[in-house]
């Protein structure tokens, strides 16, 4: 199985150096080759298991409760402005 490591890394929002790509390529193909063994199992009519324990909808009451104060939530922010997280411009082309 040939994996396009550069493409998958981009999907994962992960920049990889050429050195990392060269190391990961054979390792990932080796791992994918190993996990391929599940293709031989007969799973006809078998339900998928999503969790370690069967779960149905778990709801709590729809009511407002105390949450982290803004100052606490922002305490670890790499950059902030007032009560907001500060980021580079997201919308392309819209000079303002």
């Amino acid at each position: 199985m040939k994996i396009d490591v550069a493409y998958v890394a981009e999907l994962a929002r992960l920049a990889l150096s050429d050195g990392e790509k060269a190391v990961f390529q054979p390792q990932l193909e080796n791992i994918v080759g190993y996990v391929e063994k599940i293709s031989s199992v007969d799973v006809e009519g078998v339900e998928p298991m999503m969790h370690g324990r069967p779960l149905s909808n778990v709801f709590r009451k729809d009511e407002v409760r105390p949450s982290l104060p803004a100052e606490t939530a922002l305490a670890n922010a790499p950059a902030r402005t007032g009560d907001e997280f500060l980021l580079p411009k997201i919308v392309e082309g819209a000079d303002s």
């Binding site: 994962a12 080796n30 791992i31 939530a73 670890n76 580079p88």
Partner: protein
């Protein structure tokens, strides 16, 4: 006897009787820390003043070491990753609240494999942890710091987390008791997520009784973690009193005993453990878990898939490392993650993204979830036949640093611990003996059905008693 040598039971009795205080224990552990941590490296950080101040306020509490992915308000929580350097937890995880309510205080942050991905703690980006029984060898992982702290008498007990064996394998390597609770028994709120359909928090201790005491404090329903049912928590320490193998049917899964690559000494020690259980009255029954051979493959699809989704939150926006090279939002994500994550984390994110990507989802993730159902059914069936299973815990004793360079070879360390994690049942590792030539500790694994922790602890205690 030094206070740092105590287990949970003796420490609790001492503080209650007034023989010593929590601060006395913390001072003793600090002394031990200065004596040993340079060599062992079990801890990443030790806020000595903070720990002492907390202990002074709680004279009858017992301090517990915490794996560095569990949030404790005001303390760092790095997950042994560069991406979380400098992060300070804004709140307590539910397990920490439960510990405090149960007469414990969190103290000290134990090293681990970065984001709990690994079996040797060699993937920590922040420090090396050595096995206290042989410092040329790894402590196991991913809860390697917790295991080394318990095995090296650098704490009273510790918390670890187990996704595919991360409590049990290091417990086996460092001669301590490790218990992975059933999925849903213990809340994960405030515990950094690795693979959410598998992760559990559990105790790592010096005795089975200590594990019972800690589990009682940790377990229970939490409305902040929807996977925890509102089922009562049994009085585990009381229930294991007088535990014996009389009338206990112990299953020997044949797939765990005919494995290529099992170390001959591990095999000898496990066989001896089975003989002791039989001599103490257990009825030994051979059973079969026919889908065992697919468990590793299922795990290395499901765990990376879930990790790739969980670790998407580390994007340099709200907390954690932000790259100085970022020129726009896209490069802010890709560069912050490139600079912050170590190689194993990157490998698993790519693997997980790949198996979830368009065109591959059904063949990998979807199919793995179905095979997982078959693995679970194997366990459901055998627990209709026997009370508990006994198996090796890890295929080898602690190995040398750098011995498993190839990722896939490293993954095979979790051969015996992964199937029960996938099935969501509970399992323990209990010290069983030492290898003859190298004198390294080896643990034996017991497995019971979902929410059968009382049974698991009884069997583990009965074994501990007959192994003395």
């Amino acid at each position: 006897m030094k206070l740092y040598e105590l287990g949970v039971k003796e420490a609790q009795e001492g503080v209650v009787k007034g023989d010593f205080t929590c601060a006395d224990i913390v001072r003793s552990v600090i002394e031990r820390f200065h004596e040993k941590n340079g060599e062992i490296g079990a801890y990443l950080t030790f806020d000595e003043e903070g720990a002492l101040a907390l202990a002074e306020r709680n004279p009858k509490a017992v301090p517990i070491a915490v794996k560095d992915l569990i949030n404790v308000a005001g303390q760092p929580c790095t997950c042994a990753s560069k991406i979380l350097r400098g992060y300070v937890s804004p709140y307590d995880a539910t397990v920490i609240k439960n510990l405090k309510a149960g007469g414990f205080i969190p103290a000290r942050r134990a090293n681990m494999d970065e984001f709990a991905m690994g079996s040797s703690t060699e993937n920590s980006a922040l420090g090396v942890t050595r096995n206290p029984y042989d410092t040329t060898r790894v402590p196991g992982g991913s809860s390697g710091g917790s295991a080394a702290a318990v095995g090296g008498n650098m704490c009273i007990a510790a918390l670890g987390t187990d996704t595919g064996g991360s409590i049990r394998q290091p417990a086996s390597f460092c001669n301590c008791v490790g218990l992975k609770p059933s999925y849903g028994r213990v809340s994960r709120f405030g515990v950094t997520a690795f693979a959410s359909s598998l992760d559990q928090v559990g105790p790592m201790t010096k005795s089975v009784e200590d594990a019972a005491i800690l589990l009682k404090a940790l377990a229970g329903h939490d409305e902040m973690d929807g996977t925890t049912p509102d089922e009562p928590v049994p009085d585990y320490p009381e229930l294991i009193k007088g535990a014996s193998f009389k009338g206990v049917k112990l299953g020997l899964p044949k797939e765990y005993f005919n494995t290529a690559g099992i170390d001959p000494e591990v095999k000898r020690i496990t066989d001896e453990a089975v003989r002791r259980c039989a001599a103490a009255g257990a009825e030994i029954v051979e059973v079969s878990l026919p889908h065992t051979e697919y468990a590793m493959a299922v795990y290395y699809i499901i765990a990376p898939a879930e990790a790739s989704a969980n670790l998407a939150r580390f994007d340099g926006v709200r907390y954690g490392h932000r790259s100085a090279k970022a020129s726009d939002v896209f490069s802010l994500y890709t560069q912050s993650r490139a600079e912050g994550f170590g190689p194993e984390v990157k490998r698993r994110i790519i693997m997980g993204t790949y198996v979830l990507s368009s065109g591959y989802y059904d063949a990998y993730y979807g199919r793995a979830q179905k095979v997982r159902t078959l693995i679970k059914r194997d366990f459901d069936r055998v627990f209709g036949e026997v009370d508990a299973l006994i198996t090796p815990c890890a295929p080898t004793p602690a190995f040398k640093f750098g011995a498993n360079q190839d990722p896939l070879t490293m993954y095979l360390n979790d051969l015996y611990t992964i199937p029960s994690a996938l099935a969501g049942v509970c399992a323990s590792s209990v010290p069983a003996g030492f290898t003859r030539d190298t004198n390294l500790p080896v643990g034996v694994q017991f497995i019971c059905g979902g929410f059968e922790e009382a049974k698991l602890l009884k069997v583990s205690k009965a074994y501990e008693d007959c192994n003395h």
